[in-house]
């Protein structure tokens, strides 16, 4: 999940493609039709031998990939007890905070860790900005995920190749590798 405009949808499509290539049944649930930026966006990816519902429900997710810190906490209860979380440490203030009705929570990392002790925080935006395109933060995170799952990069590269717009393949692959080869705390 993330905030509208962060590339959540593209990331989930890479995952979908990957699992199809690996021979699984796959369902992805997306959110469309809010062209405006800034809303909370969540997509669900499910794979297995046979998938019925396209929705991941509270308490059932194996992995949570969050593009924004507060959104991570908003959805963390979707994880199973032993589920894992990879979280972009970027913070984006919603209008309710900008208007001063709410404060952006300061203790997010603690609260997330209380719900998921092994949560991994990673500054994907910084890496993406180094690469010269803030938009590829999503692929950096996908790289971190691939690494954490102990998978070889080739299948992921193939999926990225197939899903991202042709002109951006190179930078997306670079972003993926930066994520894949990073030191994780």
């Amino acid at each position: 999940m993330g905030v509208g405009g962060q590339g959540t949808l593209l990331a989930s499509r890479v995952l979908g493609r990957l699992f199809v290539d690996l021979g699984y049944d796959v369902k992805i649930s997306e959110v469309h039709g809010m062209a405006q930026r800034g809303g909370s966006v969540v997509t669900h990816v499910r794979y297995g031998t046979k998938v019925f519902s396209p929705l991941v429900e509270p308490g059932t997710a194996d992995i949570l990939l969050a593009f924004e810190k507060m959104e991570a906490l908003r959805w963390i209860h979707f994880l199973k007890p032993q589920g894992r979380a990879i979280i972009n440490s970027q913070e984006i203030e919603p209008m309710s905070v900008i208007m001063g009705e709410y404060e952006y929570p300061k203790d997010l990392e603690d609260r997330i860790r209380r719900a998921c002790a092994g949560a991994v925080f990673f500054d994907a935006l910084a890496v993406a900005e180094e690469l010269g395109n803030a938009k590829v933060a999503n692929m950096v995170l996908i790289g971190v995920l691939a690494r954490l799952l102990n998978t070889a990069p080739e299948a992921w590269e193939k999926a990225i190749n197939a899903v991202v717009p042709p002109k951006t393949v190179e930078i997306n692959l670079e972003a993926f590798h930066r994520g894949y080869n990073s030191e994780l705390s």
Binding site: M34, R37, P58, E103, R111
Partner: protein
């Protein structure tokens, strides 16, 4: 070939494989992508129509003329198209006619959560409901066959989670379906009373025949499992129930109107406890219960919002997961984008303390703080008629502090008729058309005013000014919504005018321009923390403990905040 496909894409693929030649629509979430995908096939003529009624009429014409035709819309769009729907049910078709309608339980992007299955019953039209992308493809093909076999339009109902989920589909070939012969058949196609009376008889016969055939239709199937629990479900509710109770017995309905009574009765006899699981209204349940069959449905499931596998597991099997969502998090609803053209107008309207009747589009978001610029949002085009009604109810004093606010695409959809009413019935409303050169909300579709078709052809754009003048409005002014002083002057003058007027605020949607803009910067010394810029509701302007802060990745460099700052604290690069 197998492919991961969005439900909407699979609908378009099904139409392609069924030999469809004409596909029409007005964009509406969650149905929009159907026609965008259909337009990618060279064999299909596709169009954005000005509204759903026209879209259906074009499809009816194509069907009468002998071409298979499909029309797509969201649930509320079917309200607009209901007039032709009820009568094309009488005429029937020549070549197949399929109407796809996408409901939005839970209202992810809609103003209500009406259940379109009632339309199928009211108009006496068969309705199919797929539960994943493969079924979406297959059901469209079946729908065309049924349409021609039973001489009826066929409705296909989607819900958001089917329309906007991807699952794997197997692709087939396009069928070679020649144009059918065109014949003049007044007794069938001219619905005046004497002929319509006869046709109504045909409708009754057809629905009886279909109800009979439904018992053996392959898309209505029984999956026996543990007989202590029997579940009747269709669409996404079937998938949720399968996920929650994979071992139960199922009657999976692919056709939700008319229902296969014999099949339901025989299934009910085989199971101990029967549940009917459906989102929104108890459409299946009430019919099944009316046949004297005992079943549990809305006693334990809500009529509001979406169902889920967790909810079904909990309410039927008593298995509840212990999940605790984080409390007290700041909400994050969508907001108008940084650089959005609407922000300028709304800022001025707020300053002038104008009331506004609103409409459907991105600009509806202007109802939220801090802009709080519009008072109402009912349906497409309502802003204009409602402003006129307010004036007639409360008088000219009230209406001189009131404007109607409507987008360009929405105005063409159904605002124009309201405006004709204002002129005819001597109103003095001021209508502000927010012309962002696109259908923004649904993801930037073209419309008659943009000068481009869904196929990418360039056409002469509809001239709004000429159109408005032609219906008798003498005062039409065009402003740039970011020229705040000009906007203020024009709005003051036009709301005071004792006759109707239109202000067209022209500036393209901020997402249309691909060039990257340079963000503005803030000088902390000059900023006096007055907070005026915050009133714009731009998501790129944040208030930090130390002062205002411009989020450099979000800012679009539109410069609106630079204009409202009285202390020159905000600066565009190079100025």
């Amino acid at each position: 070939m197998k492919k991961l496909m969005l439900g909407n894409e699979a609908i378009a693929r099904g139409a392609y494989e069924a030999g469809v030649r004409v596909a029409t629509a007005y964009p509406g979430t969650p149905s929009t992508e159907i026609t965008e995908f259909a337009a990618q096939y060279d064999e299909i003529y596709a169009e954005w129509s000005p509204n759903e009624k026209v879209a259906l009429e074009v499809a009816i014409g194509a069907s009468f003329a002998g071409a298979r035709a499909m029309v797509a819309m969201k649930h509320v769009g079917l309200n607009v198209a209901a007039d032709p729907l009820f009568t094309v049910s009488y005429t029937g078709v020549n070549a197949g006619l399929v109407i796809v309608v996408a409901d939005d339980p839970g209202m992810h992007s809609s103003q209500n959560e009406q259940d379109s299955r009632y339309y199928a019953r009211a108009a006496q039209v068969p309705m199919l409901e797929p539960s994943d992308s493969q079924e979406a493809l297959d059901f469209v093909k079946l729908a065309f066959d049924l349409s021609e076999e039973y001489d009826t339009p066929v409705l296909i109902r989607l819900t958001t989670r089917v329309a906007h989920s991807q699952s794997i589909v197997a692709l087939g070939q396009r069928a070679d379906v020649p144009l059918k012969e065109y014949r003049k058949l007044p007794e069938k196609n001219v619905m005046m009373p004497a002929m319509a009376r006869k046709r109504h008889g045909e409708v009754e016969r057809r629905m009886k025949a279909l109800a009979q055939a439904a018992n053996d239709l392959w898309i209505n199937r029984i999956e026996m499992g543990d007989t202590s629990i029997g579940i009747i479900a269709s669409g996404i509710a079937y998938q949720y129930a399968k996920e929650a109770l994979p071992n139960a017995s199922f009657l999976k309905l692919g056709m939700v109107n008319p229902l296969p009574r014999k099949l339901v009765e025989s299934f009910a006899r085989k199971v101990e406890k029967l549940y009917v699981i459906e989102e929104l209204e108890p459409v299946l349940e009430e019919q099944i219960k009316s046949w004297g069959i005992a079943a549990i449905g809305k006693e334990i499931f809500p009529v509001q919002g979406e169902l889920s596998a967790n909810m079904i597991a909990e309410r039927i099997a008593g298995k509840a997961l212990d999940v605790r969502p984080a409390q007290d998090l700041p909400p994050r609803p969508p907001v108008m984008c940084p650089g959005c053209p609407h922000r300028g107008i709304y800022y001025v309207m707020q300053k002038l303390r104008l009331h506004a009747t609103g409409d459907i589009g991105c600009y509806t978001l202007g109802a939220l703080p801090p802009l709080k610029a519009i008072d109402t949002c009912v349906c497409m085009g309502a802003s204009v008629g409602m402003a006129h009604g307010m004036e007639k109810a409360r008088g000219r004093d009230f209406s001189s502090k009131l404007v109607a606010v409507i987008g360009d695409s929405t105005f063409i959809h159904s605002g124009i008729t309201g405006l004709i009413d204002v002129v005819y019935n001597q109103g003095a409303s001021t209508v502000v058309i927010l012309d962002n050169s696109t259908t923004g909300m649904t993801g930037h579709q073209d419309h008659p005013g943009t000068g481009r078709t869904i196929k990418g052809d360039l056409v002469p754009p509809l001239n709004l000014i000429n159109l408005i003048k032609a219906i008798g409005i003498r005062h039409v002014r065009v402003v740039d919504p970011f020229e705040l002083e000009e906007v203020e002057k024009v709005l003051k003058e036009e709301t005071q005018r004792e006759e109707p007027s239109v202000v067209i605020a022209q500036r393209p949607c901020a997402l249309l321009s691909k060039e990257s803009k340079i963000p503005v910067s803030i000088s902390e010394d000059a900023c006096r923390l007055c907070g005026v810029c915050l009133r714009l509701g731009c998501p790129a302007i944040e208030k930090k403990p130390g002062g205002m802060y411009i989020n450099q990745t979000l800012c679009n460099g539109c410069g609106l905040c630079v204009k409202v700052c009285k202390f020159g604290a905000l600066r565009r690069a190079g100025e």
